[in-house]
């Protein structure tokens, strides 16, 4: 499915990471990895460090911190917020929606729409789409899109394939209408038949939580998990990213009338540097145009990887001017969404620590 959003712009992005940073070199003894295997794994996935939130810090705390930062800086006023969209797969509660909880903590007026979206990897782009649609309501001046995930809490700390690659983070994006047409070309695809590729099998209502679902199993050496942890079919996901995402990138470039030359930055979701290098090579995109450094420095933080990628890699450029970018989020669902747009200048574009 393709569409073009018009007269909408992103005006600020703040990404929030926990101040607690852990290095792979310190953690690997806990993963049942021999020094040789650890070295091989570290090299293959370019692992270095990641940010992990302490137990008492939730996704909403990271997002709220970022939002308060924007309010304190004067870049956003409470009365301008017409809608709060919270995208996460690690909400505070099953009920109520976390956006409602955040609304209460901010003391916002009653004329505000609160909406939670359950999405991960493609969650920043799905959230943007929702924001653009909400801005069709004249009474909404600005939409605040909050993306946050603490996936480290959805796995065992000893799981050597998941834990080292994971990071916790939140982001706040302010979206509003603009005079200029500023077309945002968007392509969306879903394939629920492959939903088991990235899944937490138990703990909700299909397979409720029991002492059985919390029992740890070692599926292969050093890979410990229970049924309430994230299960990933690595091979299926690899095939998906190599087969389904490149055609969507071709589709969106053709749709927007762009080429690999006219797009300055390909700011993709960051599952790990290995897959991103393979993708760039396959799509014949120069490696320097497709940053793959976020996992090495922060970990894969689900839908936050894209705003973190933008804030870390393009901050200087985007606060001064604009850049033609291609964004792409792909993963859990399976869902894959891509956009081509002129991004910037941004009022605020930064990373803060909680």
């Amino acid at each position: 499915m393709k569409t073009i959003f018009k007269n909408k712009k992103i005006s600020s992005i703040v990404s929030v990471v926990p101040k607690e940073e852990y290095r792979f070199d310190d953690e690997y003894p806990g993963f049942k990895l021999t020094p040789d295997k650890a070295k091989r794994f570290k090299k293959m996935m370019s692992l270095d460090r990641h940010r992990i939130a302490p137990p008492e810090v939730c996704s909403s705390d990271l997002c709220l911190f970022g939002l308060q930062h924007l309010l304190n800086e004067g870049a956003l006023k409470r009365e301008e917020i017409g809608a709060l969209v919270f995208v996460s797969q690690t909400p505070d509660y099953f009920m109520p929606a976390t956006s409602n909880v955040i609304h209460g903590k901010l003391g916002l007026g009653h004329d505000v729409i609160c909406l939670d979206i359950n999405q991960g990897c493609a969650g920043f782009l799905l959230g943007l789409m929702q924001a653009f649609l909400l801005l069709e309501i004249a009474a909404i001046r600005k939409v605040v899109l909050l993306n946050g995930d603490t996936c480290s809490k959805q796995m065992d700390k000893c799981n050597r394939v998941s834990y080292p690659l994971t990071g916790d983070a939140g982001s706040v994006t302010v979206i509003e209408r603009c005079e200029a047409e500023n077309p945002i070309y968007t392509a969306v695809k879903n394939d629920g038949s492959r939903h088991k590729a990235i899944m937490i099998p138990a703990g909700a209502f299909r397979t409720p939580s029991t002492p059985e679902t919390l029992k740890l199993h070692e599926v292969e050496e050093g890979v410990v998990q229970n049924l309430e942890h994230i299960h990933m079919d690595g091979a299926a996901i690899f095939s998906f990213t190599m087969e389904d995402v490149p055609p969507q990138i071709d589709e969106i470039l053709s749709f927007s009338g762009d080429t690999r030359e006219s797009v300055e930055h390909f700011l993709f979701h960051q599952p790990n540097p290995f897959i991103l290098r393979q993708m760039a090579e396959k799509m014949k995109i120069p490696q320097e145009k497709l940053p793959n450094n976020i996992v090495s420095l922060f970990g894969n933080c689900s839908s936050v990887t894209i705003p973190l990628n933008i804030a870390f890699n393009c901050r200087e450029q985007l606060v001064k001017g604009s850049s033609r970018v291609c964004l792409s989020g792909f993963g859990v669902g399976l869902t894959w969404i891509s956009m081509v747009l002129d991004l910037g200048p941004l009022e605020v574009c930064k990373i803060v620590e909680l």
Partner: protein, 80 residues
């Protein structure tokens, strides 16, 4: 497809000196989920064919894997 070259590429991934067609993949110490990913990536990059998750799980020996890649190459040629 050059089987010797394929075996050498597999040996590089597994970080061992030599790999033979009769070797059983599951018996290599280094044959884990990461090795599988590296193989999928190598096959995509060097042979330009895609192996699916279920296909790689169904092969037993190095020779079986080589035959799978060969079959995919044959399919690709037919499509041209």
């Amino acid at each position: 497809m050059n089987t010797l070259e394929f075996c050498q590429r597999l040996a590089d991934i597994l970080d061992i000196v030599e790999v033979k067609p009769e070797n059983v993949l599951g018996e290599f110490e280094q044959w884990d989920s990461l090795a599988v990913l590296s193989v999928l990536a190598m096959v995509d990059s060097k042979y330009r064919v895609t192996i699916r998750a279920n296909e790689i799980r169904s092969v037993v020996t190095v020779g079986d894997l080589a035959k799978l890649v060969e079959a995919k190459l044959g399919e690709a040629k037919q499509k041209q």
